[in-house]
């Protein structure tokens, strides 16, 4: 069932993260509608945890993480899946 649903998808969401800009406020993770991103256990050079794109299958590419991010460290977009 899950495989059939995955095949039907024509678009996939892409999230790009710039760890060095992140200050670890967790707004993107808290307000992601599908839970596609989560906080990483890694640190950036300033000592903040940054988000990671942990569930790419869940991402719809709505771009809300990019709109919320106060540090311009994350953004998402929708990409067409080429057959």
């Amino acid at each position: 069932m899950a495989e059939a649903a995955a095949k039907k998808r024509k678009f996939r969401g892409v999230v790009v993260i710039k760890p060095e800009r992140c200050k670890g406020c967790e707004i993107c993770v808290s307000f992601c509608p599908t839970g596609a991103i989560s906080m990483s256990t890694k640190f950036n050079s300033k000592g903040y945890h940054y988000p990671e794109f942990s569930n790419p299958d869940k991402c719809t590419g709505c771009g809300l993480c990019g709109m919320y991010c106060p540090d311009f460290a994350i953004y998402g977009y929708r990409e067409k899946i080429e057959e």
Binding site: V16, K23, C25, E26, I27, M67, Y68
Partner: protein, 285 residues
């Protein structure tokens, strides 16, 4: 993921050499800049004709981070600077991007008189309920009974109702959103940028380091969730009823005023035309 990654649409508006910016983790000003950049992108203004004027304060730093014609003016005097800019070169789209302390406290008189004159500028006021940059002093927007550095036992005053202040002074477009409502805020900013006349947009933003920490209100994520729960969208609401006297009161957001009125230059040209007849050449029209 084999294809090359797309660039962030906001990136072209930022002075990336200055990143990361000085705003605290979770500060709402970055989110509002994000929405503003997307609104500029959406409404397709010629970037050579767009000017950002900021005053002093945390929000005053916006001018320094946007790769546009931006001016960082003295405390509270962003609106007079913008008025001069607009009257000297009426082709420009002038945006005043400043905080509540800058626009409502020290620049309060300029705000009401610019609204009264109906100068064709867009004023974006990021309201974080205190003076952030100087250490969390009480501002004219601090909630009643909430703690600030200068009111350690609670603020005895009542805050300004900024949308009502702007609307009663004659602003043609008045709106309020929080940093939770990013999509709606972007749409409203597009409208405000295209609106002729004095448009005023208030953005409620969390100040996690000073206001939230001192009042034990949690992190900025908690306040964003609070905004989500407490805000009620009422377009065209009576601005008298949208005040935020206490913290617990429901936050009425939306576009409150949207009217059409001749702006300052229209009135100026009309009066001069009446007096001088054909000798007068209309300015900027």
């Amino acid at each position: 993921m084999s294809t090359t990654l797309r660039e962030n649409p906001v990136e072209q508006f930022l002075r990336t050499d200055r990143m990361p910016h000085i705003w605290c983790p979770g500060c709402g000003i970055g989110t509002s800049v994000n929405c503003f950049a997307r609104a500029v992108l959406e409404c397709g203004i010629d970037l050579d004709k767009l000017c950002i004027v900021s005053g002093i304060g945390c929000t005053g730093r916006v001018a320094g981070y946007l790769r546009l014609d931006s001016f960082h003016t003295t405390h509270g005097r962003a609106i007079p600077f913008a008025t001069g800019l607009k009257l000297a070169n009426p082709d420009l789209h002038v945006v005043v991007y400043s905080g509540d302390g800058d626009l409502a406290a020290i620049g309060g008189n300029h705000l009401i008189h610019a609204a009264r004159r109906n100068i064709d500028i867009t004023v974006i006021c990021v309201n974080n309920f205190n003076y952030g940059m100087t250490g969390g002093q009480v501002a004219p927007t601090t909630h009643h009974e909430k703690v600030a550095t200068t009111t350690p036992y609670g603020d005895p005053e009542y805050p300004f109702n900024l949308p009502d202040l702007a609307a009663s002074c004659g602003a043609v477009f008045v709106a309020r959103w929080t940093t939770y409502h990013v999509v709606q805020l972007t749409k409203t900013l597009v409208k405000a940028l295209n609106k002729k006349g004095f448009s005023f947009v208030e953005i409620l933003a969390p100040c996690p380091t000073l206001y939230l920490r001192r009042n034990k209100l949690g992190t900025s994520v908690d306040l964003m969730k609070y905004f989500k729960e407490k805000s009620v969208i009422k377009h065209g609401a009576n601005t008298k009823e949208v005040g935020l006297e206490t913290y617990d009161k429901e936050i009425i957001v939306g576009e409150f005023v949207d009217i059409d009125k001749p702006d300052y230059l229209d009135n100026y040209n009309e009066i001069m035309k009446k007096r001088l007849g054909d000798k007068f050449q209309p300015w900027g029209r």
